[in-house]
């Protein structure tokens, strides 16, 4: 919304060029004279950092590709060689791996900014959707890139993720084989992942160009969410926004450099320094930190939903958690853009941010880990002493087995047996052991987890040992609040926020007083 161009070429050469390719005019109108809302805060500086991140990834990536070898036998070693032998290779490799994390850090802040200030609402829907496409491309690029060093996490992360695609009904397996280029993650997979990892950043660059074009068409949103109404509402991009962007970017680069120089491996997983081994699974498989929330959503669905089994359900939930962002402009019904004037929505938004962080935490934990203490117990009954009798029974047919077993049990119990054990041997035969007389014993053991409970039971059995021919065990397994349970609650909130809270709240909430113009509260 820059209005008529204010660029005036000053020299003969620029006048000559302006008639043939008005590129300086384009730059001037987009980045110098371009009017920006005068009230932009620092949350608006992340777009500039993202542009820088993209350039950093592309430049460092091209350098790495000059030394990297996409072969299962050489990939791991070639990365080690870059780190140790290639001049400044250590620096460039660290920049690229830390850069990926910084890129995601910036993009998440950028996206939460858009959520909070309603930047996805009309007329910025296309701008927002282009952003979502960029984000999806970033996720894919990040995943592909993580496979390239061919460490244990690279290999097993790729195995797990491509296995997940196998959950798609009917065509899943074909897709899986098509992506891997074979039955498993192997040379063909590594080769194509490298090719695509090189390609996608340029696709991202193309979509970013569209993103910025759409931004310049609809104009920037701002903290009040009120549209620009007059010249009083804006200031020129240069020097105002330029200086602010540069200052914030400098701080961002300090953080970036701190990681690059002092803790380049802090954001990665140690197991990726072990070369990939298809025969040995690492004790835990986790993605990079920036994908953990989605990993948690994937694993939260551990139950079947009608005909959809848990694995497919998880895949659907994971894709839906990104997909829902695409339709957000039509889910939020509020007329007010900025949550600054939406007191209730703001609370839900803050909870949403916490939920996303908590999902990230869950994604890094063992899903079976028990979060709230619970008591598992088991009661063991046995008989010491007494008469032990063993007999064989045979049912007339496989389907009558249960009947025959029950009848045998009943008759033995009636005959005075204290305990009866029937051990099925095959379709029709079973061996029956019974004890009569003797002293009935009972003991209850407790433990904090099921595995510990099994150990306790075994312990007791060993202790009693040969004094009894057999035990009967009744286990009492309580409901446990695990990381999975927690993820389920968080996932539920994630979807409720978009699908229920935003649509309903927009219609019900009484917003605060929105200023008439941007300039008013700023200049008053």
């Amino acid at each position: 919304m820059s209005g008529p161009s204010t660029y005036e070429p000053k020299s003969g050469l620029t006048r000559w060029l302006d008639k043939r390719l008005p590129i300086i005019r384009l730059a001037h109108d987009s980045f110098v004279a371009y009017p920006t809302p005068r009230n932009l805060n620092y949350w608006w500086t992340f777009g500039a950092m993202l542009s820088l991140c993209l350039v950093v990834q592309i430049v460092s990536g091209i350098v790495l590709a000059m030394h990297y070898i996409p072969h299962v036998d050489h990939a791991f070693a070639s990365v080690q060689r870059i780190d140790r032998d290639v001049p400044y290779g250590w620096l460039i490799q660290n920049i690229h791996s830390v850069g990926a994390s910084m890129f995601f850090l910036a993009v998440y802040i950028h996206m939460f900014r858009g959520l909070y200030y309603g930047s996805y609402k009309a007329p910025r829907e296309v701008l927002w959707i282009l952003g979502c496409i960029i984000y999806a491309l970033m996720v894919v690029t990040g995943f592909l890139g993580y496979t390239l060093p061919w460490g244990q996490m690279s290999f097993w992360g790729a195995t797990v993720i491509t296995n997940i695609l196998g959950a798609v009904p009917f065509i899943g397996e074909s897709i899986q084989v098509w992506i891997r280029g074979g039955g498993s993650i192997d040379q063909p997979t590594l080769n194509r992942f490298f090719s695509l990892h090189y390609l996608l950043p340029f696709v991202i660059a193309g979509v970013v160009a569209l993103h910025v074009w759409a931004l310049h068409e609809s104009g920037q949103n701002n903290p009040t969410g009120v549209e620009v109404k007059s010249k009083a509402d804006t200031v020129a991009f240069t020097p105002y926004a330029t200086a602010k962007d540069l200052f914030a970017t400098t701080l961002f680069l300090i953080l970036f450099a701190t990681f690059v120089f002092y803790m380049p491996n802090a954001l990665g997983h140690a197991d990726n320094y072990i070369p990939a081994n298809p025969l040995q699974t690492p004790p835990e498989i986790v993605p990079e930190w920036y994908l953990l929330p989605f990993y948690a959503v994937l694993r939260a669905i551990d139950f079947n939903i009608g005909p959809i089994d848990s694995k497919l359900g998880g895949v659907i939930a994971m894709f839906a958690s990104i997909g829902v962002l695409f339709v957000l402009p039509w889910l939020d019904t509020s007329k007010v853009r900025s949550m600054r004037y939406r007191p209730i929505a703001r609370q839900f938004f803050l909870i949403f941010v916490v939920v996303c962080l908590a999902l990230g935490w869950c994604g890094g934990q063992n899903p079976g880990k028990i979060l709230l203490p619970a008591t598992f117990s088991a009661t063991l009954n046995w008989v010491e002493g007494g008469q032990v009798a063993t007999q064989a029974i045979e049912a007339p047919g496989e389907s009558q087995f249960d009947e025959t077993a029950a009848a045998t049990r009943a008759s033995l119990t009636q005959g005075g047996a204290a305990m009866v054990m029937i051990q099925r041997l095959n379709a029709t035969d079973a061996s029956v052991t019974s004890v009569s007389g003797g002293a009935a014993q009972s003991r209850t053991v407790t433990a904090a987890t099921q595995d510990e409970l099994e150990a306790e039971i075994q312990h007791l059995k060993d202790e009693v040992g040969a004094r009894t021919p057999f035990f009967s065990v009744a286990r009492n397994i309580p409901f446990t609040f695990t990381v999975t349970t927690f993820s389920q609650i968080l996932t539920l909130y994630y979807f409720l926020f978009f699908l229920v809270i935003l649509p309903i709240l927009g219609l019900r909430e009484t917003p605060g007083r929105v200023p008439d113009t941007i300039a008013k509260p700023v200049t008053a």
């Binding site: 084989v177 280029g181 074979g182 039955g183 192997d186 551990d302 694995k311 041997l425 095959n426």
Partner: protein, 186 residues
């Protein structure tokens, strides 16, 4: 459209002929585009040499009773387990236990061509059916067989899923006895 151009020099029929040419050319173009895209998509499927690597021979005489080896078949690990009589008995007994994915031990050791296998040799694809980790054989584990460290799936001595998130049993690898002590997988 025919009526909209009554003065067309070529008569009223022309517009419909032009429509036809548009549609015909458009369809031919679409088919051509699809035919061009196809090879570019299909090239990502396994190449002939990748598919050709798809059998693996295993000498069983080297595997002592109660031991297993992991071999690679089509880039994936396969368990070749020499089961003890106790393991075989447990596997057959559990044919009648409550199973998540009911299957008899005999079906699981059968050869590729449907002939019966030998109870002491269990040949399984080693990737956990949950998300693909490789479970480890744990002597004295809850069900006597494999345990997957990733999310805690327990398999029995026949490789059937007994507890945990995995949806199905470890799938038997297709194999044939070439002679008494050699099998060919794939």
């Amino acid at each position: 459209m025919a009526e909209a151009k009554p003065n067309d020099a070529h008569g009223a029929q022309d517009a419909t002929r032009r429509d036809f040419i548009f549609i015909a050319a458009g369809s031919a173009g679409a088919v051509g585009a699809a035919a061009t895209i196809w090879p570019f998509v299909a090239q990502m499927n396994p190449a002939a040499d990748t598919r050709a690597m798809s059998t693996t021979e295993v000498d069983l005489s080297a595997i002592v009773l109660g031991q297993q080896i992991k071999v690679m078949w089509q880039g994936k690990p396969v368990f070749v387990r020499h089961r003890t009589p106790a393991e075989i008995a447990a596997a057959q007994r559990d044919d009648y236990a409550t199973l998540k994915d009911p299957q008899h031990d005999a079906e699981r050791i059968a050869q590729e061509n449907g002939e019966a296998g030998k109870p002491e040799w269990l040949i399984l694809q080693a990737n956990c059916t949950h998300l693909g980790c490789v479970p480890t054989f744990v002597e004295g584990s809850s069900f006597g067989g494999w345990f997957c460290p990733c999310h805690g799936s327990d398999y029995d001595t026949s490789g059937r899923i007994r507890r945990g998130p995995a949806p199905t049993n470890l799938p038997p690898a297709p194999y044939l006895f070439v002679n008494d002590t050699t099998i060919r997988i794939g």
